[in-house]
């Protein structure tokens, strides 16, 4: 499938030029995620950050680490299975899984008109909620609960002292009101009690620093 077609495309070029020099990292990337994997609807990128109270967007950016961009189901698991479980993360750390390579930054072009649903859950429920939301996101089951013109752009989990926070990012805050995504979440994790849940548009945050180009 994917790989054989890549070979086909590369073949004519091989005749003209000596061995194409792909960076080692590029090669392993192709091998790891494209070789036998089942393609995802879109690529998704794992990020890690440690949030520090009172930081500006620029300072936050500097603390944000991209872990890996996956484009197949197996690639998704190869990252998920090999990073610490959310239950092992220390307080104030967050994982994000963002569509394509969008960054989990409010002010970025892809996010600045959006917002997120924020749900607070007990620590013992966090790993399950995180996993189920990830699967629903990459399986593209959340999109059905959005309005036309809106899109899921990511899922985050933030570890806190007491209850943790799980968020679902969308791209169009104007359409969030009519969405019934929180009902879908209930369906995904029927036994979980959220101690709070609400939607907030990024631009309504006091700390929002205005539009910004990526």
């Amino acid at each position: 499938m994917a790989v054989s077609s890549v070979k086909n495309l590369a073949a004519p070029e091989k005749v003209a030029t000596p061995s194409p020099k792909l960076a080692r990292s590029a090669i392993s990337e192709i091998h790891a995620s494209e070789e036998n994997g089942v393609p995802l609807n879109t690529p998704w990128t794992f990020y890690l950050d440690k949030s520090i109270p009172g930081t500006s967007a620029a300072e936050y950016e500097a603390c944000l680490r991209k872990l890996y961009t996956v484009s197949t189901v197996q690639g998704f698991w190869s990252v998920y299975n090999n990073i610490p479980d959310v239950s092992k993360l220390n307080s104030r750390y967050s994982y994000h899984l963002m569509r394509h390579e969008r960054r989990p930054i409010w002010e970025d072009a892809a996010n600045c008109n959006g917002g997120n649903w924020r749900m607070k859950c007990h620590k013992w429920d966090t790993p399950q909620v995180w996993k189920e939301l990830l699967l629903a996101a990459i399986g593209e089951h959340l999109s059905d609960f959005l309005q036309e013109g809106d899109e899921i752009s990511g899922i985050s989990v933030s570890i806190r002292e007491r209850d943790d926070i799980v968020t679902i990012w969308n791209t169009n805050s104007g359409l969030a009101e009519q969405s019934n995504i929180l009902e879908k979440v209930k369906e995904l994790v029927p036994k979980v009690t959220f101690t709070a849940s609400f939607y907030k548009a990024f631009q309504t945050h006091q700390a929002f620093e205005g539009y910004k180009k990526n």
């Binding site: 499938m1 077609s5 890549v6 086909n8 495309l9 080692r24 392993s28 091998h31 790891a32 995620s33 070789e35 036998n36 994997g37 089942v38 393609p39 995802l40 879109t42 890690l48 440690k50 949030s51 520090i52 109270p53 009172g54 930081t55 967007a57 300072e59 500097a62 603390c63 680490r65 872990l67 890996y68 996956v70 189901v73 690639g75 998704f76 698991w77 190869s78 990252v79 299975n81 090999n82 990073i83 610490p84 220390n90 750390y93 930054i105 409010w106 607070k120 699967l135 990459i138 593209e140 089951h141 933030s158 806190r160 209850d163 926070i165 709070a196 609400f198 945050h205 006091q206 700390a207």
Partner: protein, 114 residues
């Protein structure tokens, strides 16, 4: 128009064919490739690829999913052994302070908004 008395003919719709993938082996060999060989993941109109939870879970134990990607970012404590210490890039020192958390706020914001 002589069929006045005939029972009204109802046109019953047909279900859109739907192929359910329950196992990796169900995936057709040409899945996600055009006949000529280029790769696509969505049709121009924008249909999405859906995966059931069961299928996704099944992939979790595939050999490919067991090892981390070879070129995954090296973050001690996360992708390699060690203590987690994220903010160090570009020499930026995390400022000290206990104001509002950004961009993920601490609980006061939560209580305020509900």
């Amino acid at each position: 128009m002589s069929d006045k008395g005939a029972s009204p003919q109802t046109l019953s719709g047909r279900e859109i064919p739907n192929r359910r993938i329950t196992d990796i082996s169900n995936i057709p060999s040409d899945y996600s490739t055009t006949p000529g060989g280029s790769i696509f993941s969505t049709t121009p109109g924008g249909t999405r690829i859906f995966y059931d939870r069961a299928f996704l879970m099944q992939c979790r134990n595939s050999p490919l999913a067991k090892t981390p990607p070879a070129n995954m970012a090296n973050i001690p404590g996360v992708t390699s052994p060690g203590e987690i210490d994220v903010p160090k890039e570009n020499g930026v020192q995390p400022p000290k302070g206990d104001k509002v958390d950004k961009p993920i706020e601490e609980n006061p914001q939560f209580e305020m908004d509900i």
